[in-house]
């Protein structure tokens, strides 16, 4: 497929756990990401949802090559990232950029907005140095900040404005794909809407691909074209956003969707909520078979036997549940 910009083939990221002070022994591994296969198309917004600890941030970091992959390949624009040398990596990184959750922590407090936005331009030699100020001013306009704030420091801005600066920094290199790791979780509702609009608008205008990570399903539903649901390092459901959230197939997605409180008192009072028991299991020692079976309402003996693969369910959807046809 020509249209694919990012392809993940069976990507795994495991972290070893060592014990002992002098003699380190390996006592286990955390399978943070375990066999994820995923394709992102040009101009597409892919939402990635799951509870904390399910590996969505690790997957983002793996794609960005901020943590080494244990297995599988990440292919960006036809280039396998694990084969790249350090110099090649620098060029590859121009094509993908990241926006982090906490705009208070992801901006350097000692750098002005100008310095923050000029740095990637200078490092990558995007334009001659004399053009940098004009570029920075342009970037600031793109994200809805007045260029006269150029010489201010991050602490002089509000949370929403800081997130705009972080987005401008990601856009500086004109990437093909942006990975946004919970970009609106730290913001208030009214500010959240501004940032969501900005991201949606940028994707449309610049034909950007976006991987949008969040735990808030209503936000994901609004912004994404497709949604991938993760549980314990694996993708368990994938499909068009409206489809997955309005008609979830996997029992976990059903529970997740039913747990979102809706701002509508009549609906909220009349509906039956699926309340999952317990917490997500530890990724150090995941349950045998389907990792969700200890909390699943529909679990049977066969769920404990084998890890269910992601199988096609209709033309655009994939679900990993052995009882798919039965429930």
């Amino acid at each position: 497929m020509d249209d694919t910009i990012l392809q993940l083939n069976n990507v795994s990221t495991h972290f070893p756990i060592h014990s002992g002070f002098v003699r380190k022994r390996l006592i286990g591994t955390v399978k943070a990401v375990d066999g994820v296969t995923l394709a992102v198309r040009r101009g597409e917004v892919l939402g990635l949802v799951g509870e904390s600890g399910c590996g969505k941030s690790t997957l983002a970091r793996t794609i960005m090559q901020l943590v080494p992959t244990t297995g599988g390949t990440v292919v960006l624009n036809g280039k396998n990232l694990s084969d790249c040398s350090a110099t090649e990596m620098l060029a590859v990184r121009r094509g993908m950029q990241m926006v982090f959750q906490d705009p208070y922590a992801s901006l350097n407090p000692r750098m002005t907005v100008y310095a923050t936005l000029a740095e990637p331009l200078l490092v990558h030699g995007v334009c001659p140095p004399e053009e940098v100020p004009a570029r920075v001013a342009n970037l600031m306009k793109t994200v809805g900040l007045a260029p006269r704030f150029m010489q201010k420091y991050p602490h002089e801005f509000s949370g929403g404005q800081r997130q705009r600066i972080a987005i401008a920094r990601a856009l500086a290199l004109e990437p093909k794909i942006i990975i946004a790791d919970e970009p609106v979780s730290a913001l208030d509702v009214s500010i959240q809407a501004q940032i969501l609009n900005l991201l949606a608008q940028l994707c449309r205008k610049m034909n950007l691909s976006l991987i949008f990570i969040a735990h808030d399903l209503s936000v994901v539903k609004h912004i994404s074209d497709r949604v991938a649901v993760m549980y314990l390092g694996k993708i368990i459901e994938l499909g068009p956003a409206l489809d997955v959230i309005d008609r979830p197939r996997h029992p976990y997605t059903r529970a997740l969707v039913s747990a979102i409180p809706t701002p509508n008192p009549d609906v909220e009072r009349s509906r039956q909520r699926i309340v999952l028991a317990g917490d997500p299991p530890s990724p150090i020692n995941p349950p045998a078979g389907c990792a969700f079976h200890p909390r699943c309402l529909y679990a049977q003996a066969k769920c404990k036997l084998a890890v269910p693969p992601l199988v096609a369910d209709g033309p655009a959807r994939e679900v990993a549940c052995v009882r798919l046809g039965e429930i």
């Binding site: 904390s52 009214s190 609009n197 539903k221 409180p261």
Partner: protein, 324 residues
């Protein structure tokens, strides 16, 4: 008579950069057994309101400038420390947002759970422990008998919030103040905790003040909701009225900016600008600079809460004048 009546509460913080009017003249009441939701963005004064009632405002820089908070006839803001101690933690309890930082990491769960009992009731340690154990089982902790002797770090976030709830409810309070108890938790765990609060409320018949910024949580849980903006209440009504026929422009704008209330793919409605700087006095309506219906009068005159119906009050001059 309401269980708690707060009248004209003002809590200001005197900082080097000016006087920060976090809560600026609010009045409300809570009936026995009722659930009141307080909704607002960060900095709107919803937490400071409750900290003032509980006597948890750091002084200095904070100072309660005026107001009374009558709890069952006792003014919590002006009574003797001894009187306050006999109410706080026994008849009024509070749970906090972050269960990671609100439990003492050096003490076993058992020690922390029985502390309110040992302080407020004449009870032996052994009896207190058995009540603590029963309470832990009540809030849904499996193997409570073993787990009661663990330390907080050995519990997950949801479990810690359960412990916090057990600790708050062990003295069977008449009023529980919950300050964003589910904000730090995952949605599936949030659903568990909300169910738990509802169940405990049914069993104990207590009143709950539930602070949150999530309108979704409020809609299923609360009997009445009040919306705060810049240290003042802008609208208060029973939950259905507030959701289905909100009057104040801020409440309406807030509702319209939630993604789940809008069609997919459309531009989200946004409130332009930012909440005002509370360290500077605000002449008229605090929401005026961001309001789409603003007039010259809004910028000059401070609006007060006025009735729309018997159970519905709001503070917009133009709505009160019948213009909106």
């Amino acid at each position: 008579m309401p269980l708690l009546t707060v009248t004209d509460l003002r809590t200001w913080f005197h900082t080097r950069n000016g006087v920060y009017r976090a809560v600026d003249g609010i009045s409300f009441s809570v009936e026995r057994g009722e659930t009141l939701g307080i909704v607002g963005e960060s900095g709107s004064g919803k937490s400071v309101t409750c900290y003032s009632i509980m006597g948890l405002v750091p002084t200095p820089p904070g100072r309660i400038e005026s107001g009374t908070a009558l709890f069952d006839g006792v003014d919590l803001l002006h009574c003797s420390p001894k009187q306050a101690r006999s109410i706080r933690g026994k008849r009024v309890a509070m749970i906090f947002q972050d269960p990671m930082t609100s439990l003492n990491p050096y003490l076993r769960i058992s020690e922390q759970l029985i502390e309110p009992l040992l302080i407020h009731e004449k009870i032996s340690r052994r009896e207190a422990l058995s009540r603590a154990l029963a309470m832990l089982e009540e809030v849904g902790i499996n193997d409570a008998a073993q787990r009661i002797h663990l330390y907080p770090h050995e519990f997950s976030g949801g479990m810690r919030q359960r412990v916090m709830i057990a600790m708050a409810l062990i003295t069977k309070p008449e009023l529980l103040i919950a300050d964003e108890p589910t904000t730090a938790l995952d949605v599936t765990v949030q659903a568990q905790i909300l169910e738990l609060i509802k169940k405990m409320q049914r069993e104990l018949g207590m009143a709950v003040i539930f602070i949150t910024h999530d309108l979704g949580v409020v809609s299923g849980l609360c009997d009445r909701v009040q919306v705060m903006y810049a240290g003042r209440i802008v609208e208060t009504a029973d939950t259905r009225t507030l959701f289905y026929s909100p009057k104040h422009p801020y409440t309406r704008a807030l509702q319209r900016s939630i993604p789940s209330m809008q069609d997919k793919g459309t531009e989200l409605f946004t409130i332009p600008g930012m909440p005002p700087d509370l360290s500077k006095p605000i002449a008229g309506c605090a929401f005026a600079p961001r309001c789409e219906y603003v007039t010259a009068r809004c910028q000059a005159e401070k609006p007060e809460l006025g009735p729309v119906s018997a159970t519905h009050d709001q503070a917009c001059l133009r709505v009160q004048a019948g213009e909106l």
